[in-house]
């Protein structure tokens, strides 16, 4: 099948490189603007957290979808897998780990001061200290990322081995590892998001956050991958391989993730709203005052109703110039959600600092550059898949 492997296509690698470079320059300028008053950890911590969260979630989403593809082995994944692999490559996950470490060593007090310098009368946090203490937090982070990096490295190396040797046993290896892998991944996500974001306000908790961020991050990664691949679908090596049936699958996957995101977000809100307990409602109270309710409305309309109604249309899912903007809309609104999740922890009213966008672009620039290297030297359409082998084509067409 070697003629199917286009070893030096890398249109997407080059596009990633350009986007990454532009984001780095723009992000640098915006960050410099935001820092014109001097660097202060307290004012800069929210901006950093916003950018770090957005791009760590991108990598996590790529990881989740890579696992999902290896479990289901659907035809839809063959052109998308490379985007997921480059986003969740060991080197990109290492970069995410570095971001977590920066958050800890530079912005520890503004981010996690609430439970690090705990008030002696704060019984809620004192009772959580067996889990929520500095030593345990620092020990846990490398464990999470070591698990993810090991999973990602193993799966990716098996894909490459299969493409090199043509041995189909690697396909089964990936399938067998990805099934428990997806369970491990969701557990790691739950612990990670609890430590990294939820512990900023250590009084409040939600047990659905692991799933909520798994789905949200998958939505980010899927929208980016769909936008990138569908925009290039008439060029080599996608031409003839990404057909209307496949873009329909892409659209349906986006629709599914959109609905799942709305379902989980709404369930959490409905339960807290019905319970009306003072331990739980502050989370939403903070997010409906000081201008944040506008963002909440934007989320309901643009992250759910808009994409939901658009993606119901079979015509849209078959038409590149309609599907790409829809995917980009979802991708853009992911940033609004991240802002709405992260900022109310730090700012009582909704204000925007140029450094918020600066950090988003700067970290995003590095993320794209790392991913662009991941794209190079790899065929954009994965050959190591049963679908690419004619005898199994029909069998896997609707998986």
């Amino acid at each position: 099948m070697s003629e199917m492997i286009d070893a030096k296509p890398n249109k997407i690698g080059a596009q990633y490189g350009m986007v990454g470079g532009a984001l780095l320059i723009g992000g640098g300028a915006l960050t410099a603007m935001g820092l014109s008053g001097g660097f202060d950890v307290n004012t800069f911590a929210p901006s950093f957290m916003l950018g770090a969260m957005f791009w760590i979630m991108m990598s996590m989403g790529c990881m989740g979808l890579m696992l999902l593809f290896h479990v289901t082995r659907g035809r839809w994944g063959t052109p998308l897998l490379r985007v997921f692999e480059s986003g969740a490559s060991p080197i990109n996950l290492t970069f995410c780990f570095a971001l977590v470490m920066v958050a800890w060593f530079v912005f520890k007090i503004p981010l996690y001061g609430m439970w690090i310098n705990v008030e002696p009368t704060d019984m809620i946090i004192l009772n959580k200290q067996a889990y929520l203490n500095e030593t345990a937090w620092v020990i846990r982070q490398p464990i999470y990322f070591a698990i993810l990096i090991a999973l990602s490295w193993r799966l990716m190396s098996w894909t490459r081995l299969e493409e090199k040797t043509g041995d189909k046993k690697y396909n089964d290896y990936r399938n067998n590892l990805a099934a428990p892998g997806i369970l491990i991944f969701i557990l790691v996500m739950t612990f990670f998001i609890t430590d990294f974001l939820m512990s900023i306000d250590a009084h409040w908790f939600s047990t659905v956050w692991g799933f909520l961020f798994t789905v949200g991050s998958a939505l980010s990664a899927m929208s980016l991958a769909v936008a990138v691949v569908v925009a290039n679908k008439d060029k080599a090596p996608f031409a003839g391989k990404v057909d209307n049936l496949m873009t329909k699958d892409f659209g349906n996957l986006l629709l599914m993730l959109t609905m799942l995101w709305a379902y989980l977000s709404f369930s959490q809100m409905l339960i807290i709203w019905s319970g009306n307990l003072k331990e739980f409602i502050p989370y939403y109270l903070k997010r409906i005052v000081g201008g944040y309710s506008t963002l909440g409305t934007v989320l309901v309309i643009m992250q759910f109703f808009g994409p939901f109604l658009l993606l119901l249309s079979p015509k849209l899912k078959r038409t590149s110039w309609l599907l790409v903007p829809t995917a980009l809309l979802i991708f853009g609104v992911r940033f609004v959600e991240m802002f709405w999740l992260v900022m109310p922890y730090f700012r009582k009213t909704m204000t925007v600092n140029p450094a918020d966008f600066g950090m988003l672009c700067l970290i995003g620039g590095i993320w794209f550059l790392i991913s662009s290297f991941g794209m190079r030297g790899a065929a954009l359409v994965v050959d190591a898949h049963p679908y690419q082998h004619a005898e199994l084509k029909e069998a896997s067409a609707h998986v």
Binding site: S274, N276, E394
Partner: protein
């Protein structure tokens, strides 16, 4: 005697029988290429790509389901709003038969509480959309239909077990029975039949 209904059999179409799906697909493509449009196919299993060849682009049902869903959603919220809050009591002109809402105070929340009322509205959306799908499908298919003229063809007996049947219907503007029989015979079919009907088709 012009008031007596003409019950003499009329042509319904020409059917050809094949023993595999590839032969059916190939035949359908050739018949299509010969300029015939009113085609139908009867197969024991779903045949991949057949609807593309037959050029069926019927999306009426999707819209029926969609608008049933919208109606369910609106009806769900309307019912809950009307019973819980409704119109102000002073506005008697708009009260239907003097019916008044029955507001309930649940934990001090608003009488018309949008989040809590969402699940029933959602369920009604699904219920009506499902009704739309099932009954719409039945209506568009013209069901129930105890008998169909194509059953007059002998080969149809095996169309639900191991035979693939292609039919050119008499409604086709280019319909010419002899020409079609000749065309079908040249397509590797097992048999070709002229189907008659007296059911007014």
């Amino acid at each position: 005697m012009s008031h007596v209904r003409d019950t003499s059999p009329k042509p319904y179409g020409v059917v050809a029988e094949f023993d595999n799906s590839d032969a059916l697909l190939e035949a359908a493509e050739k018949v299509k290429a010969a300029g015939y449009r009113d085609l139908d196919a009867y197969t024991p299993i779903p045949v991949h790509g057949l609807t593309d060849v037959l050029e069926w682009k019927d999306d009426k049902l999707g819209w029926v389901v969609f608008f049933h869903g919208i109606a369910g959603f609106a009806a769900g919220y309307f019912l809950q709003w009307w019973t819980s809050q409704g119109l102000p009591v002073s506005n008697t002109a708009l009260q239907v038969n003097g019916l008044l809402p029955y507001p309930m105070n649940v934990g001090g929340k608003p009488e018309f509480s949008i989040p809590a009322f969402f699940p029933p509205a959602y369920e009604l959306t699904i219920l009506l959309a499902a009704f739309g799908a099932v009954f719409g499908m039945i209506a568009f298919n013209g069901l129930p239909k105890p008998h169909h003229p194509v059953f007059n063809a002998a080969c149809m007996n095996r169309a639900s077990s191991d035979r693939y049947v292609l039919c050119v219907e008499a409604t086709d503007p280019r319909y010419d029975e002899d020409e079609i029989v000749e065309l079908m015979n040249g397509l590797g079919s097992l048999s070709v039949e002229r189907v008659k009907t007296s059911e007014g088709y």
